[in-house]
Amino acid sequence: MKFSLGAAQFFWPKQQVEDFYQQAKDSSADIIYVGETVCSKRRELRDKDWLALAQDIATTGKQVVISTMTLLESPAELQVLKRLCNNGDLLVEANDLSAVQVMHELKLPFVVGAAINCYNLATLKVLLKQGMTRWVMPVELSGDWLKQLLDEAEDEGIRSQFEAEVFSWGYMPLAYSARCFTARSEDRPKDDCQYCCINYPQGRRMNSREGERVFVLNGIQTMSGYQYNLINEMADMQAMGVDVVRISPDSELALQKLDDFRAQLTSAKQYPLDGKAECNGYWHKIAGMSVQ
């Protein structure tokens, strides 16, 4: 089993991004995803900065993957996407079918990210034909769903053609909109957002009027209010053949989580989850925000 650090979802100042990845270079991660996946207006790092950062991390011997945007709406965004896809040697994570199309045209392998709707065997087969080498399961799917699908892939004789990765810790991306909810929270339209996401390095909490943490607002993205935590499901994941466990960074804390998850492989222990801050419901086929 390998452990990955997903692309950082929040908008951080350039220095913070660089500091974070300096630490990540020394972390236990086998795979590190880098890049802007949420909003093309976030330009603390330009595409060439991301590629330089990625090349720098790659010197450690870790696999580095360029993560790409999820919601692409303009030709300018497609241009940036094409530059990132055609980067020379780094693997790319496609988070929209546009990236699948571009990578297929380039005849290059790619990772299918969790925001692409791949729910079944027939879809896996189409994506494999396009060049997919790793599949990240959509966050709303359960352990049972995954097991059944991986078993079907085995029966079909295609299981060895791709790795399966599971989003296992962190705030889950749940939705993408044209509207920027962070700008809205400051009563601004998106076109005059003043890049206000940078003031919320862990997003903005959106609670119910009873104080329940419902969602986290992160620009045009809506995230889970609780952190997903599958640390107690490591044995199950291993048994069903999950290849990569993804930790989604919200801060340096994520680097510690990489170690905690990895330690489960050698000396498993049961972690009690805090139902007011963590959840694992999706894995157990119940409401995502619940704990079982």
Partner: protein, 331 residues
């Protein structure tokens, strides 16, 4: 431009055709479509009747198979395609790549439309569907501005359909798991958003409360208009500011965009609302037919009538309408 109307049952379908729809879209009575509600949709006998009525009037029937197939149950989605083709549907509206693949291979002659649930928002994604599944049309998600739609229309290798009126989904459709996060059920997996069985209304000292799977979605003061607790349209607390943090209860209405949409060559304007009554379908179809005909007769003189707006506002969530993402300031 084609006027494409929703029908959740046979009376609604007849009403749509009788009031000016050029085409009607329907779904099967199971979880293969994104309006999988009790008492709604079509099964065997009704499907045949629906197709007969539509075709007798020389109109078109689209069948929405727009959820994502479950492992071990892909036959259900394939059967939905088979059944839709068997009744002679004019187009299949499909979201799942695997289902599209099946339809394109087995029924290459039956038109395939990419469902809004497939979240196709740019040219490269459109090309993906066109090159792999030879689709005839793409339904655009409600996340693009008018300028972005125009740019796509100029370059798209396939016809485009846009949402014109109805409940406003504010997220990129097919990529929103808010409902399953709160209830375990989402449009993608079970064909419903904020399902009714999780809704609870309660009178309290602080006012009428609406809950979805126990999470407080909204609380209404005396006299406030209480709407269905679709979870993205409730009032929430962001740093002690209580407001509609995602969106207000409102519906999309694009009557004023008809000239622009027509000029950019949009193939079809779609009315949302398979879950709504025949009375809703009647009013919306009639109003949109009148507007489209008016534009057709004298494009230069086209103006939105106040009466049309009032009729549509009355059928809208919170009795208010918006241009949604088409209008950049909304974003």
């Amino acid at each position: 431009m084609e006027l494409l109307c929703p029908a959740g049952n046979y009376p609604a379908l007849k009403t749509a055709i009788d009031n000016g729809a050029d085409a009607v879209y329907i779904g099967m009575k199971n979880d293969t479509n994104a309006r999988h509600f009790a008492g709604l949709n079509f099964n065997d006998g009704k499907l045949v009747k629906a197709a007969d009525y539509v075709h007798k009037h020389n109109k078109k029937l689209h069948v929405a198979i727009n959820t994502f197939a479950h492992p071990g149950a892909q036959q259900r989605w394939q059967k939905a395609v088979d059944d839709a083709v068997a009744i002679g549907c004019d187009a299949l509206i499909i979201a799942d790549i695997g289902v599209l693949d099946y339809a394109a291979n087995k029924y290459p002659h039956v038109e395939r439309h990419v469902s809004v649930q497939a979240s196709t928002t740019n040219l490269a994604a459109i090309e993906f569907y066109q090159q792999n599944f030879d689709v005839a049309r793409v339904v655009l998600p409600r996340v693009l501005s008018v300028q972005q739609v125009r740019q796509l229309a100029k370059n798209s290798p396939v016809a485009l359909e846009v949402f014109a009126f109805g409940s406003l989904c504010i997220m990129s459709e097919g990529r929103c798991y808010l409902s399953s996060y709160m209830t375990g059920e989402s449009p993608n997996t079970v064909g419903a958003c904020s399902p009714a069985k999780y809704v609870r209304w309660q009178e309290t000292e602080q006012g009428l409360e609406s809950r979805l799977n126990n999470v407080l979605i909204d609380r209404y003061k005396e006299g406030e208009n209480a709407g269905y607790p679709t979870l993205c349209k409730g009032r929430f607390d962001v740093d002690d500011n209580v407001y509609h943090a995602l969106e207000e209860p409102t519906s999309l209405n694009t009557l004023e965009l008809i000239p622009e949409l027509a000029k950019m060559g949009i193939a079809s304007v779609k009315i949302e609302g398979r879950q709504r009554s025949p009375a809703y379908v009647e009013q919306v179809a009639k109003t949109w037919r009148a507007a489209l005909d008016r534009y057709q007769q004298s494009p230069e003189a086209y103006q939105v009538e106040n009466e049309w707006m009032a009729t549509l506002a009355n059928l809208s969530e919170g009795t208010q309408t918006t241009l949604g993402a088409y209008y950049r300031k909304w974003q």
